[in-house]
Symmetry: C2
Subunit: 269 residues, 2 copies
């Protein structure tokens, strides 16, 4: 094991949602150091244009590269959908994982009837990135995408088991269920918090939580590149945000499932 | 009438919501030129910290001052609540109107039982700005504020008469109605679009639409300063945004009630 193996994994998102990925990474790769960046001053990205998202994303990647990361995890569907290619160009040989590639892969491995539904933000849906990722491997798969933008603020409001959230989920899922999907990708990092409710509203449909599948893909990529950290008695996890971390801490601990000790505010761009 | 009278009124908001103010200004002051700025690349402000909102707001004010505005209208409750004082310092003698001062004034003129409710974003509620503005004029008034953050994305989704929106409004209004308010301030520029639904859920309660009251206050301030534009055969209205204006145009026309011809994207900061 050389020094690079000790370097952290860089995980980033437009805000707090990517913490669901950090949580899954901590469980799957407990020996790894992690540096997280959440762009809380400019969140959400899901309603912004491709050009703006690319600019913001490259600023974040520059920041993480300065922190000597050994791999990048794009823990935001919107960034993966719009800026994934430019980030991979910039990263060179470094492993770059993202929630869309991992989610598409897992959905293909899960479906039995070859009918996959996707719920995501507007920008992710408009990018058509999930359909492209799935069709590049199986062009016969039916892919139905549905923008579900209201689920983000509903999760942030903490209405995880509220009648309003249930009705909203029901409305969004209706066209997907009509098309008889048997697999549903939770294509936004906020949505895993709604897994119980979505499961009730989509009985018999398998839910793909891209945080878990991305953590698995990260483990495989690090292993293949000989970059796993196998000796780390005190794994270090640092959180950076672009706005004062008060709200990030409150909501973030719900996403992460534990407390966050080191949160620092930095200014990008 | 001198040259200054021909100068535009500068109106600004974190995004699209301030267009409800532009609409009211166009109706109340049809001879005025208007320059609008919506910070669509960084919207929403309502969940960001005071320091970040101040920084962003001062960048917008600089931009509008470069456009030779004769008055400023802070068409965003969150900005008014957090950065209003700094904006007034910067503006010097120029009239500065804002939705909170105007809304508080109108609420005091409307209430009969001296019990006023406010619905707004989290940051506006936390700032306590409405209660301060009302109590500075009548300390005996009961002011009940309620954060209603979900109404913003519901309006942007266009669910203006949807069962989900109705249940959400009902939940938010419950504690205010228990306190027997007779006047409710729509303390966010998105909320006037929900006036019919809110009216049904709060029967007998007078709704204060701060867009209309701010337009009236602007007319009075311009008149008092001798700055009204009385000769303008072709009033000019320009819209500037910080992100590509596709979504701004679509949603904006719903807010403005007419089409927008001149929309330009600029980068601030």
């Amino acid at each position: 094991m050389n020094n690079t193996n000790q370097c952290p994994i860089g995980v980033f998102d437009s805000g707090v949602g990517g913490l669901t990925n950090v949580r899954a990474l901590m469980e799957r790769l407990p020996m790894e150091n992690i540096v997280y960046f959440g762009d809380t001053a400019r969140v959400p990205y899901g309603t912004k244009s491709r050009a703006t998202i690319e600019t913001f994303s490259m600023q974040i990647v520059d920041f993480l590269l300065e922190h000597d990361v050994k791999a990048l995890v794009i823990a935001c569907n919107t960034i993966a959908a719009t800026a994934g290619q430019r980030i991979r160009q910039k990263a060179g040989n470094m492993p770059v994982l993202d929630v869309i590639s991992a989610g598409a892969q897992a959905a293909l491995a899960t479906t039995r009837n070859n009918k996959i539904g996707i719920i995501a933000t507007n920008t992710t849906v408009n990018s058509n990135a999930y359909a492209r990722a799935i069709h590049s491997q199986n062009s016969a798969t039916l892919v139905r995408t549905q923008a579900a933008p209201l689920l983000v603020p509903l999760v942030e409001e903490g209405w995880l088991d509220h009648e309003v959230t249930r009705l909203t989920v029901r409305e969004y899922l209706k066209p997907l269920l009509v098309d008889n999907i048997d697999t549903l990708v939770l294509g936004c990092t906020h949505f895993p918090l709604l897994k119980p409710l979505i499961g009730q509203e989509a009985p018999g449909v398998a839910l793909v939580d891209s945080a878990i599948t991305t953590a698995e893909a990260t483990a495989q990529a690090l292993s293949a590149a000989g970059l796993l950290n196998s000796e780390n008695p005190a794994p270090d996890c640092r959180f950076y945000v672009s706005d004062i971390p008060l709200r990030f801490r409150t909501i973030g601990e719900r996403f992460l499932g534990r407390s966050m000790e080191q949160i620092e505010m930095v200014t990008l761009g």
